[in-house]
Amino acid sequence: MVLELKKPRPIWEIIFSTHHTDIGLLYIIASMVALFAGGGLAMAIRAELFLPGLQVFSGQADFSRFFTVHGTTLLFLWLLPFASGVGNYLIPIMVRYKDMAWPKLNAVAFWIIPPCMFLVWGGFSDTTWNAYPPYSILKAPGPAADMWIVGLKLLGISSVLGAINFVVTILKMKHPDLPLMKMSLFSWAVLATSLMIIVAIPTFAASLIMLYTDRLGVTGFFNPEMGGDPIAYQHLFWFTFHPEVYIFVLPAIGMMYEIIPTFSRKPLFSYYSGVVALIVISIIGFGSWAHHMFAVGMSFTEKTVFMVGTLAAVPSSAMHVFNFLATMWGGRIKFAAPMLFSVGAILLFFSAGAGGVVNTAMPLDFLTHDSYWVVGHFHLFVMGTISLAFTGFIYYLFPLITGRMYDTRLAKVHFVLTFVGIAVIFGVQHILGLYGLPRRVVDYLPIPELIIMNQIASFGGWAIGASYAIFLYNMIKSAMFGKPANPKDPFELGTGVEYYYDYARRDPHH
């Protein structure tokens, strides 16, 4: 077993383990499988949009299935499980407890995920990841849509179980000598995320059941023909999923708080400001969901309230950016792969936030809503910020998990290619949106500007794809043949800097 370099263990011992590093490893591997599978779908989507007309797909129906599964996979099977995986790996180490509070529950939470993967991929639904009724209840073909609903339902259960475990581990199992205000910012981020999951997810879990019974025809919650209201679903959906975007991003911010001071070889600028920003966002984040619904016919007052709620959540994100930059300021920065990815993530986080403010300004949203602008906006977050930080963290954890070092040269190529690709594709998609290109279309009018920009975007997308192929090769090759890492200082940061994590923790039975 490559991953257990020093003391090989049979694979089933890891699979049936309830130890937090093993579960963490399983989470990380499962989420990376989802990353590559979902990313593969994106390559096909970019091939289709390279030219107007139909290239790869036979029509909108197949195309819709691809982008639905692409989005569902990357949001729920890559971002969420990866954050849980790293949390599992590190939280017990950071709060100095022997394991998670409930190891068996932890294993259950993980093992719910593979069946969900099977349901989402086996069904290949075309509802879009929003699954708005009445399309999703009256028109979307089954069993695909039903499998999607059940899959997400189970995933919600897994998330909530995992979140409860994290909250209890952090608040109850924390070593008595470790006060809350001395805990690492990553632990704070996981705590904030977990509390948000517990508050946000049940709403969507309930609406999935309502969606399902509506599909069966026994209820009409969202079916206008039976007196229901499709907009009610959108409120329930976004009440979960606007906070969910912070659930995605906070673990990434927490990881950047691990990486940036380490590679700047300088203490964090302000721990206090980081904690405050995390707490504030996890509360204010609940007051902005209907900014996704400016165009559903809300009253002027409602629109104003949600615009203000959204804008109010921005300063706390700005505080993180400031904290990162101020930490780097004057530091002896070493641009190893984890740091490169984190710095890239800061830049894109800032630009993405600026685009978000444009969406939030009500009159401008009527230009950008459901156009490619929105696609560019949120990909700058989910890919440009969150996935970049996560990828950097994979490099960061690599020596801890495998005991070996990755190929640093390939890692730099990976970063450059990815960063350029992301800036190109998602930047151009903003402009495409301003040209009026709607999202979620298999075909577009053969207007020269649209064709050229789509082709540029496709090249950007393929650059990301190529860079991640390099990444995969690097991970596999280095896990097997990489040069053994120095457990105390794998990134050669020099004296005075201790590698953060206690290497001995790798041993499940210590």
Partner: protein
């Protein structure tokens, strides 16, 4: 937090920008919120996968919207099935069409020309083709007088309108389905005067529900479009293979709640699609006739231009 002054300055600057953005947006949006009382009302109906427009004077159009420059228009946007989104990007107009709700949006179109209307909310199989064209035309008559006289309420009944001729198809990539619909009174008076009627002259077989009513008593073969045909997987035509003798006049009835066509060709992209026979768009409950006198013997696949997955075959003996 001793060294936190730069942070406070930074947060202050960000907050100031946000307050400015919020205040500006509030201002602009407030002025856009309420339509002037003398607005012309147009009812916009979104339906899988086309737009229809009902003007205050009773005229109805499909996939084309003709309006006058310089006068305020108020759109009442509704949907007959799933959520759509009525969007005219060139004028930054966007409003969802939600079943069970009437959403409104208003605008003064200040520049003549032809603009794209496109659905912005995913609505299923042909979402990408759910386009229409907006024509902003010069305002010849006294706009304010017209709008104050006309009754703003519009009947929602869609079965009364009758199609006289297919229009051009440049906007939809399927190359068809763009129909100009006028009210019955105009039809009986002078259908040939309508400029778009010229496109109908390619062959003599196209009949419409308009002139169908005069010969409806003929008892020949019948073809019906059953309820539910607009949903993929349901029966599209009854029967889906129809055998007739050359010279028979087929009576087509639309028993569904969505508009449909019977158009020759296996897909809208076929080179001869619509050349042999084409009912044009038939609104719900409409009937049309297909005269097979000039259709060669043999098998002729046909489809619906609105829902190309609806197919059938006509065998002429």
């Amino acid at each position: 937090m001793g060294h936190s002054t730069p942070e406070w300055v930074f947060i202050g600057a960000v907050t100031a920008i946000l307050i400015w953005v919020g205040a500006e947006s509030w201002n602009v949006e407030h002025s856009l919120e309420y339509a002037p009382p003398n607005s012309e009302t147009v009812r916009v109906v979104g339906q899988q996968w086309f737009w229809s427009f009902q003007h205050a004077d009773g005229t109805q159009e499909i996939n084309e919207l003709h309006i006058k420059e310089g006068i305020p228009y108020r759109f009442e946007i509704v949907s007959n099935d799933v959520v759509h989104s009525f969007s005219i990007p060139d004028f930054a107009i966007l409003m969802d069409a939600v079943p069970g709700r009437v959403n409104t949006v208003w605008n003064v179109f200040d520049e003549q020309g032809e603009y794209l209307i496109q659905c912005r909310e995913y609505c299923g199989m042909l979402h990408q083709d759910m386009r229409a064209r907006l024509f902003v035309e010069p305002n010849t008559d006294n706009a304010t007088a017209v709008s104050s006289e006309s009754e703003p309420t519009i009947s929602q009944g869609s079965g009364t309108a009758i199609i006289i001729a297919p229009g051009g198809g440049e906007v939809g990539s399927t190359g068809s389905g763009t129909m100009r619909v006028v009210e019955p009174r105009n039809l009986t008076q002078a259908p040939a005067n309508d400029s778009t009627a010229a496109t109908n002259a390619t062959d003599g077989n196209t009949t419409s529900s308009g002139n169908a009513s005069s010969t409806a008593s003929a008892s020949g073969p019948t073809l019906s479009i059953p309820a539910g045909a607009a949903t993929p997987g349901n029966p599209a035509y009854a029967p889906d293979t129809l055998t007739v003798t050359k010279g028979d006049v087929i009576t087509v009835t639309n028993d569904d709640t969505a508009p449909h066509t019977v158009t020759n060709g296996a897909t809208p992209g076929d080179a001869d699609a619509g050349q042999l026979f084409d009912t044009s768009i038939m609104m719900p409950a409409a009937t049309a006739q297909i005269d097979t006198a000039t259709v060669e013997a043999g098998d002729h696949p046909f489809h619906c231009t609105v829902h190309p997955f609806m197919t059938g075959t006509l065998t002429v003996q």
